[in-house]
Symmetry: none
Subunit: 415 residues, 2 copies
C-alpha cells in the first residue's frame, strides 16, 4: 500500500528543526512493506493542513500525520482531519483521566487547554501515549487509513512501534511484506558501478535494484516481496550472484555500514592495530576511526603533522627529505612513506597510513594542485606502499575522499 | 513571496537519509524574506516529480528543488521541470567543459552518462557548481521562479549561497526586502540564552528575534524589513544593545560563522600558533581546526594519543601519572595538563589544548562515566589550566561538545 507522511509544524517550515520524524516513519514503513510515495510538511494553519490532507488522501492509501496534537491553539491536526473526513471531535475518557491524574499527582493546576490533548475523532481508534499526554488517533474512512501521532520523537516512536504499527498491519489488505538487502562498495564510484550493472538495472523487475550514493559511499539495495525473508533472499540470489561476478571485488559489506566501521571491526577481529600520520587530512582519518565504540582497542593514535617541524619532531621524517636542493619536499611519495613508517614504528602498530597533499581550495605554495594527495600504507614485515591520488571537490571533500581511499587500501589488506 | 521546497530522492522516502537540505533552505529562505509554506519529498519517478511540481507551482511563487541532478537514470529532476514548464533540455557548455576537464586531468575515461550533469533548460540561468559536477538551474516562467539544486549538502549549500540567493533577490518582486543579522554565542546553551532574553522574545515585533540551536551552537537572528540594510540595522540597534547588555559576554560573532573558524582567524591575526593533544576527541579538534583554508599558518599539528603508550611516546606524559599505585591515571586533570604541555613544547606553539575523557557510549574500564572530559589549555608564559567537563549525548556529540569547549577556552584568551 502507498503512504504519505504529513508533518505539521511551522518550526519545520522555518528550518528551526530537522524533520527526523519523517525519516523514522519512512524507514519503519519500508520495513513493513508500506511504500512511502510522498512526504509533506505544512505549517500550523488549519486550511493548509486540510488541503495537505486532501492531496495526500488522493494520492495515497495511508496518511500518517505527525505533530499538532498538543494543548495550544496552534495544535490543529485533529481539527483538520475532522474537517477533512467530516467527523466530530470527541473526548477520549481514558486519555482525559490520565491527564487529570498527571496534574493531580503533581499537585499542579491543570490549564483548561490541556483537555485538548485527550481529543480524538468519532469512530476512531485511540493510540495510547505511554511517554506523554496527547493521545494518538487511527481512523479508517472511505478506504483510506489515517494515523495521527504526536510531534516529539520520544512520544512518536513508542506510539508508532507499540500501537500504530499493529493497527496498520491489521487494517492493511496487502498480500506480501517487503524485504531488502544492502550491498556496499568501495573503490568504485556511483557512475562506474551503474555502468557495470546498467543492463541489470534497466531490466530489473523482481528483485528491484537501486543504486545509492552518499558522501562518496556507494550502495546497491535489492528489494523483493515475499512471504518470508528467506524466500525474498532466495529470489535475489541470481541477481546478487551476477552483481558479485561483475563488481564483487569492490563489495565490502552486505549491510548498510560504513567502510571505516568495517575497518575497525576487521582490525579488532584480527588483533591488528593501526596508527595514522596526517598532514592534509588534518585529523579527519583519526576522527572517523575513533567515531566507532571500541576503536580504542585497534587505534593506537595518530599524528597531525601540519608543519615540517612537526613531521620531523613527531614522525622522524628526515629534514633532507623535506627541504634543501633536490629534496622531494613535504608533498611527495617519499615523505608519505617516511610518515607512515614513522607513525608505525613510534606507535608499534601493525599498520599505519599517512596522508600528505593539498586539501585546497587553492594550490600549494610551490604550485602543486589542490586534490593531489600521497597516501602511504606501512605494514609490519612488508614494504611500504604509496599511492598518488588526484581528488576533486572542496577542501572538505578532498579530505574525506583521501580518508576513504586510506580505508580502502586497508580493506584490501584486511579482507 | 511564498515558496515550496521539493526534495527529490527515493532514499528520503525510504528513510535512509534525513532531509537536512529542507532545513537548510527553509532557514536560508526565512533569512531573505521568503516564507516557506510547504515542503514536499518525492521519489525518483518522473511522473510523480512533475505532479509535485504542478501542485507546488499552484500554491507557491517560488519552487526550490533539491536532488536528482546526478549522472544516473534515476536523476530526473531536470527532465521533470522541462515537462512541467514545456522547456527543452540543453547542454551548458561551461559545465560540460568542466566535467570533461575533470576526467582529462585525471586521465580517466568519462562514462557518457556524466554529460547529463551539464544539462539545464532552454531559457534558464545556470547556477555554477563550485564543489561538484552537476550544474544548477534557475528559471522564471509564467510568473513563477524555479530553482534546481544538487542533493549533496556540500554542493547545495555553496550553490545556494553564492548563486541561487542573489538570483532570487534579483527576481523577486517584494515591496521591502528583509535583512537579517545573526549573533552567535558560545559558552551558553539555548535554554540559558532564551531564559536571559525571554521578555524580549515574547514582546518582539520589529525586529523579530529568533533563537536557533544546532549541534551545540546557539544563534539569535534579528530580522527586519527596510529599504536598505543600513535602515534595517538602525531599526535593530536598540534590541541588539539590550541583548549585548545581557549576554554580550558570550557573543563571539555578528555573522553565522562557527567558533572554530573565528579561532583560526584570531590566531592568524595575532600571529599565534596552536597544537592539540587529543585522546577522547580522537582527532576531531584537529579536523575542525584544519577544515578552514589557511589554518596551516596557525595550526602546527596535533597528536591523537589513544593509548597510554602514545601519550608517553608522543607527548612525554610521565608513566607515573598514567599507571601504578596512587597514579591519577589517563582520565585525570594531571594527565590533561601534561598532555597540553607536551604538545605545546614539542611543537613550539603559543597555545595547546588537550582532551582526555570518556566519549562513551558506556563508562570507561575503571568506571568513569561517559561524558567526563578533562580539557587542558597550555599557553606560553602562563600556568596551564584544566577544566572538568560533564557532557551529555551520544559518543559523537560528546566529542563535538568537548571540542567546542576547547574552542571556547581559546576564544576567552584570544578575544
Amino acid at each position: 500500500m502507498k503512504a504519505e507522511i504529513v508533518a505539521v509544524g511551522t518550526e519545520l517550515l522555518l528550518g528551526q528543526i530537522v524533520n527526523t520524524n519523517a525519516q523514522y516513519l519512512a524507514e519503519a514503513c519500508a520495513g513493513i512493506g508500506i511504500d512511502v510515495y510522498y512526504q509533506t510538511v505544512v505549517g500550523d494553519n488549519v486550511d493548509r493542513i486540510v488541503s495537505a490532507l486532501r492531496i495526500a488522501s488522493e494520492r495515497a492509501d495511508i496518511v500518517i500525520c505527525t505533530g499538532g496534537l498538543g494543548p495550544t491553539m496552534d495544535d490543529l491536526t485533529r481539527d483538520a482531519l475532522g474537517i477533512h473526513v467530516g467527523a466530530e471531535l470527541v473526548m477520549d475518557e481514558d486519555g482525559m483521566r490520565k491527564i487529570e491524574a498527571y496534574f493531580a499527582e503533581r499537585g499542579a493546576v491543570m490549564v483548561e487547554s490541556n483537555r485538548r490533548q485527550a481529543l480524538t475523532l468519532a469512530g476512531a481508534d485511540v493510540l495510547p501515549n505511554d511517554t506523554g499526554m496527547a493521545v494518538g488517533t487511527a481512523l479508517r474512512r472511505d478506504g483510506k487509513l489515517y494515523v495521527l501521532l504526536p510531534g516529539p520523537p520520544r512520544e512518536l516512536k513508542p506510539m508508532f512501534d507499540r500501537y500504530a504499527k499493529p493497527w496498520l498491519r491489521a487494517n492493511m489488505n496487502d498480500a506480501l511484506p517487503l524485504f531488502s538487502k544492502s550491498l556496499k562498495f568501495a573503490g568504485i564510484g556511483e557512475s562506474g558501478l551503474e555502468h557495470a550493472l546498467l543492463d541489470l538495472i534497466e531490466s530489473q523487475a523482481d528483485p528491484t535494484i537501486a543504486p545509492y550514493a552518499k558522501e562518496g559511499e556507494v550502495m546497491i539495495r535489492l528489494t523483493s516481496r515475499a512471504s518470508s525473508e528467506a524466500e525474498a533472499f532466495a529470489k535475489m540470489a541470481d541477481t546478487e550472484a551476477e552483481i558479485r561476478r561483475r563488481v564483487g571485488d569492490h563489495l565490502y559489506a552486505e549491510e548498510d555500514v560504513s567502510l571505516d566501521a568495517v575497518i575497525v571491526r576487521l582490525l579488532r577481529e584480527r588483533g591488528a592495530t593501526l596508527a595514522a600520520a596526517e598532514s592534509c587530512t588534518g585529523g579527519l582519518f583519526a576522527d572517523m576511526t575513533t567515531s566507532h565504540p571500541g576503536s580504542s582497542e585497534a587505534f593506537a593514535g595518530g599524528i597531525v603533522s601540519y608543519s615540517n617541524a612537526a613531521k620531523t619532531a613527531l614522525l622522524g621524517v628526515p629534514k633532507a627529505l623535506l627541504s634543501g636542493p633536490g629534496a622531494p619536499g613535504a608533498l611527495s611519495a617519499e615523505t608519505a612513506a617516511s610518515m607512515a613508517e614513522g607513525a608505525r614504528t613510534r606507535l608499534g602498530t601493525t599498520f599505519a597510513v599517512s596522508f600528505t597533499g593539498v586539501a585546497g581550495p587553492g594550490p600549494s605554495a610551490d604550485g602543486k594542485p589542490a586534490g593531489l594527495v600521497y597516501l602511504g600504507v606501512a605494514e609490519e614485515g612488508k614494504a611500504t606502499e604509496v599511492r598518488e591520488l588526484k581528488l576533486s571537490g572542496s577542501r572538505e571533500i578532498v579530505k574525506l575522499r583521501a580518508c576513504r581511499a586510506g580505508f580502502y587500501e586497508l580493506w584490501k589488506r584486511l579482507r
